[in-house]
Assembly symmetry: C2
Homo-oligomer: 139 residues x 2
Amino acid sequence: MEKIRITNLRKIPTEGGDIFHCLKNSENSFYGFGEAYFSNIKFSKIKAWKRHMRMTCNLIVPYGKVKFIFYDEDSDTKSTFEIGEDNYCRITVLPKIWFGFEGLHHPSSLILNISDIPHSPNEIERKEIDASNFPWSNL
Amino acid sequence: MEKIRITNLRKIPTEGGDIFHCLKNSENSFYGFGEAYFSNIKFSKIKAWKRHMRMTCNLIVPYGKVKFIFYDEDSDTKSTFEIGEDNYCRITVLPKIWFGFEGLHHPSSLILNISDIPHSPNEIERKEIDASNFPWSNL
């Protein structure tokens, strides 16, 4: 699914605690800087469904482990990824992709989103978690 | 100390896990996006001293608790801050300020740096933790 790109990120071993790469302005996945914010997700909680009509997201999980499900309505394609400290990756999500996520780490996990535009409720669409065309439990 | 700016950040209570603000491109503390990266700091470990000659840092602690000490050689001014989940702030550090930090949370804490230029070893100066003019233990 070309609208979703996975990039393995480097962890650099350092005395006292490692350095974790996120994003550089020279990388292909950098679409500009609008805002950075964290979403905390508690263990076994699910936040779904949401899609951004204009925002490109760069998602990184520096603490814990999170399952993401993406659904591209145009191509009827679904994909699932589990990322976190142990599978340390960046997921770049282009606009118009539905997505949801579930916390897999106790007591919680942290998702960093570095987005190309600041948060705006006007460009977000939401559906209930069990929306009939793609219920979470069937994915 | 004008070269160091503290900004209280919002946590937005959300079902399943809160949203934590970091930085928007419209804020005064935004100097451009060069890179974002995490530094992990283990409990009771200290990383000191370092200064950036060109980089402006925006430091946020979304997990754990970290003590920062800053030293401005020009004005001979020191300042100390403890930030983390419970005192959720952003520290903006202009170039040429010496700084070090200590992990106060078990087993570790996470620091996000959103910097205006990408990491480059050429613009970093380092001193030993007990450099004679400002030993960590005396601060």
